[in-house]
Symmetry: C2
Subunit: 641 residues, 2 copies
């Protein structure tokens, strides 16, 4: 059916499938014909100028299509998306087709110049930018309205005709990657550049951050062990430990920015120009004129959105926070009840029972976090944000505030209302360890089990002794389309954020927290790697230059930790003993030290440059060159006069 | 001698002098010939393609040259410097010669399309960018070395051959401007747009800030008066006053950012691309390769500079700070001595004497500030910064830290060591009022006296009854070259910064501070306006998009003021009385309130957008258009394939 290659691409004979499009079963013939025509049509005719082929399955189902593109088309696409590649002189530059010869490893017959992930990103970008011309609706589906300029793929997705689009795995590459990543037990760094080539920058940056953060915690953990072993109740020595931690946490966050700049410069995303953001798929509104683009597109009143945020979302979040505090009070009642029970009938069972409320509470917290997450997603999507970034920011804010309170409120209550350091230490340990076990289960054991099941299914399906790598294309597609979809790095960062909270907020009462965090993160690297390689569909690569709002979240947490640690140290009996005459002097000294530490923190954040000097020089060089080029242009034009 | 107009400009007959170049007396003929040739040479030959004419003075001195340019040359220059002008559709766009017809008020014969200040800025830019080609030295001065790419004008300035370059006043315009600005006593806004047209954006923005800041202080002043009149010792009511002040100071600084965006959008500088920064004139080093530009130019090791900063400048600044504290202690000894004297022999004289130490100290502080200023300038210039911006930042940091400590240390000492609120109020009032009087004298009375002297001199010189406007060009140039040079807005901002400190740091003990500040600022506007129009040479316009590091300085001050105000309120007897049982509770409450206020402050700064919505939309629209244009270009290129 689809054999009408555009003339542009006839020269190219070998079709390499890159992206899979799954249409709903029973999609009308005319819709398919229209869609495939639009996809292969020339750019001049408003098409995407890609290649598409139906995949004939063994069971005769015909709703799956493979999309590819000619080598030339991909190179032109790389220019359109603004890909930045390394030049022969080791500098990074935005790729343009006309200057292609100046790039490292470029050759007209070298099809590995663009990584597979980059090719897939380009195809995704081209598909998403396939826009309605004068179609009023999707052919065959009169209820699926279109207007000029609307992204066809997004409309197909929202109207359910398009089930999913996903990039294909490269079994060969994946095997190599997983071997070097988690295949063998080894001490060393992750192959971040290979991860980036295969999964794209967002995911590679997450793993880079996870690794960096784990290394950064090691000094804390190493110092924490002797503190725990030799000086259990010796608070005054913790003063040094806590001060070290505070400065350390500032330094690691600042240094991360520099490392992030080094990584993303190497990967080219630091220099990538921001693309103009299109409305997110779920955005709806009445047709109007967008003041920015001047195009006709759905418009939704900003006042209505503000009303929804402030009159519905905000009260709802407050209610949830109240509910979370209410559950916390129940926990304390339970704790009291267990303590009374233990005091009345002391036994092994009753002393074991002492840990039960904390464990139950930890489980309840995890459940509440997960339920709240759905509510937050629903609410934020109901707020009808126009841009994905705005949606993400509102979602992250909602989730962060709730998770923070939910996880740490009880600890704050114990520390600053009950003044019970023993209970604090116990609660902290239980919360930290339980949440880590729950997360490891959800992220490591569950995947392992899924993996097993998947292996069994595979075996059943293929009677022959085929290994993963020599599956037929149809088998591979069929298998991958059933795999789960990776929903982004949000949950992974959130987990790290809460862990950072446990470690930094109360580091001075429980120095072992860092040790647990390090141990958890090491297994986390392996389980996350396994998850990415074996459990989920390959995600589309997303270029990114930094970890975005998470940097701010971590920095805010480290500011809060300065305050809590200073108060905790001030409350310790040893420090108390230093001021036998006047409680006042103690409090004033603590307040003074806290303000000094905060001031030092801000000055350090200000003084440490965000980018290493050589990256700064390289960026300045690029800017200088582009200014010079502009000047040359102006001059050349003026000379014509 | 200089009659070789380039062919480009022969059509243009009317020469309008814009900029004056004053060479040293006795400059060699060959140097003059070379310089003028370079200035009039075509762009293609590496010249500036400007017009230059010697000014023949009555006394026959021939070291003054007038520089102008043809209308076409100025338009092309406007494109080179990236000037942003308003289009016919009211949007702001970078001016290009090819799109000139789309701009508002553009006509080929409308020579007012560019303001005179813009023309002068363009000429300054072109002159400074006149670079050595293959000259090894300035002809006639073998000791004044040159290397390819070195700015000729900067070398001429540093070697003393060029005495000064300054733009000419436009007597007609100046008269109109000064009339509408300060010529009549009126209630209303300053003519900011006219000021910007005449003096450029940096100066207009300073006056805009001064005006805005004065208006912003009025509510504080209005509330402050009844507090002062009716409730002198009634601290607890100050709690509300101080809290209001804190939030108010955050809001005004945030709102200023928005107003600044509105102003600079209208003036076009918000959209102006940053130009590549050349080394500052005073920078020296051995010839090497600049890693950014790849050009041969002086290079100075960054390590050497760091060593100079940390091993010389930092200790010196610390020493100065120590000295300042030492002087403060002498002041307190003096204060004690006067108090003892007053107690022993009470009289009118002795009670007047009570104010003497404060007044003397205020004068000493002003003197120390001014001396330190010279030392800081010398040191910063000795640190040999490559860029003007880096030089400015280091200078401002040095001066701010010292001025802050010098002005406020005694107040902090009185408040938080001596706990003497009465002395604090008295010192604050004396310091504030004395420093205002001193500044007004230096800025208003002194200029007035200079103005008088200048008028006398004028009268003597011109026997006829000529008014200012119909002076001959030679007379005008001769007069203006003798006028003082305006050294930038640094001192003016510094004065406002210290004033903001006096008002915000201790607002809760002395509500009248805001009243004095408002009164001072109103006269300040007039005296500064007089200074700009009559006392100084016209300064070159400098495009700028914001008040730069001063925004940060003011924000830091408002954070510090939260802390001091909370402590002051906590120390008041009325608040003290609310916690009769426990001093601890008081301190803890104060600390809690302080942290809450700081948190609210940061959240407010985060939530209030820096740019008003309509400016955001306009900026987004421009960005969208440039992205679309780029896409079109890429597409057009790809279609050729």
């Amino acid at each position: 059916m689809v054999e009408s290659w555009s003339s542009f691409d006839t020269a190219e004979s070998n079709f390499r499938p890159l992206v899979v499009i799954e249409l709903a079963k029973g999609t009308k013939e005319e819709t398919i014909e229209w869609l495939t025509k639009r996809i292969v049509d020339k750019k001049t005719d408003g098409g995407a100028q890609l290649l598409i082929k139906p995949l004939v399955m063994e069971n005769g189902v015909e709703n799956i299509y493979l999309v590819g593109a000619s080598h030339l088309r991909l190179l032109l696409g790389a220019e359109t998306v603004g890909l930045v590649k390394e030049c022969s002189d080791n500098s990074m530059r935005a790729f343009t087709y006309s200057s292609r010869k100046t790039f490292k490893h470029f050759a007209d017959d070298n099809h590995d110049f663009l990584t597979m992930a980059e090719c897939q990103y380009i195809i995704k970008h081209e598909l998403e930018n396939l826009r309605a011309k004068n179609e009023k609706m999707i052919p065959g589906y009169p209820q699926a309205k279109l207007y000029p300029g609307k992204s066809i793929v997004r409309r197909l997705l929202t109207s359910g005709i398009l089930v999913q689009i996903f990039p294909l795995h490269d079994r060969e590459e994946l095997k190599k990657l997983s071997h070097s990543w988690y295949g063998r037990v080894k001490v060393g760094y992750q192959p971040l550049d290979d991860i980036r080539c295969y999964f794209g920058e967002t995911i590679a940056l997450y793993f880079g951050f996870l690794e960096y953060f784990t290394f950064a915690l090691i000094p804390m953990a190493v110092i924490g062990i002797p503190y725990y072993v030799f000086a259990w109740e010796d608070y005054d020595k913790y003063v040094m430990f806590a001060t070290f931690n505070l400065l350390w946490s500032t330094v690691i966050l600042e240094v991360w920015k520099r490392i992030c700049a080094i990584l993303t410069y190497r990967w080219g995303t630091l220099l990538m120009k921001r693309q103009f953001e299109e409305p997110r798929p779920g955005f709806h509104g009445v047709l109007g004129i967008n003041p920015v683009t001047g195009r006709e597109e759905p418009v939704y009143s900003s006042i209505k959105r503000q009303l929804r945020i402030y009159l519905v979302s905000l009260p709802f979040v407050c209610l949830c926070l109240y509910f979370s505090l209410y559950v916390m009070m129940i926990y304390f009642d339970l704790e009291q009840w267990v303590l009374d029970y233990h005091n009345e009938n002391e036994s092994n069972f009753s002393s074991l029972m002492l840990y039960m409320p904390s464990i139950i509470y930890a489980v309840v917290i995890e459940i509440m976090n997960r339920i709240y997450r759905y509510a937050a997603e629903f609410l934020t999507s109901w707020e009808n944000h126009r841009l994905e970034s705005s949606y993400q920011n509102h979602l992250i804010l909602k989730v962060l505030v709730f998770n923070f309170l939910n996880c740490f409120a009880s600890l704050f209550y114990i520390a600053f209302v009950l003044f019970d350091m023993k209970l604090l230490r116990q609660s902290l340990a239980t919360l930290l360890i339980t949440s880590q076990i729950l997360n490891q289960f959800a992220e490591s054991l569950l995947p392992y089990w899924l993996q097993k099941r998947y292996n069994r299914r595979m075996k059943k399906r293929m009677c022959s002794k085929k290994t993963d790598t020599d599956l037929s294309l149809a088998e591979q597609v069929n298998m991958e389309k059933e795999m789960g979809t990776y929903l982004g790095t949000f949950d992974d960062y959130l987990e790290l954020f809460l862990q950072f909270g446990y470690v930094s907020l109360f580091s001075c009462v429980y120095p072992l927290a860092a040790v647990f965090a390090v141990l958890n993160n090491i297994t986390e690297i392996y389980s996350d790697a396994l998850k990415m390689c074996r459990v989920y569909k390959r995600p589309f690569a997303e270029p990114t230059a930094n970890i975005g709002v998470w940097q701010l979240a971590f920095e805010t947490m480290s500011v809060i930790s300065v305050v809590t640690n200073c108060i905790l140290i001030g409350m310790s009996p040893q420090v108390d003993a230093l001021f036998p005459d006047s409680k006042m002097d103690l409090v004033l000294t603590v307040a003074l030290v806290e303000h000094l530490l905060l001031a030092i923190k801000f000055i350090m954040a200000f003084v440490i440059p965000d980018k290493p000097r050589d990256i700064q020089t390289k960026l300045a060089k690029l800017e200088f060159e582009s200014l010079e080029a502009l000047k040359q242009q102006v001059r050349a034009f003026q000379m014509q006069l």
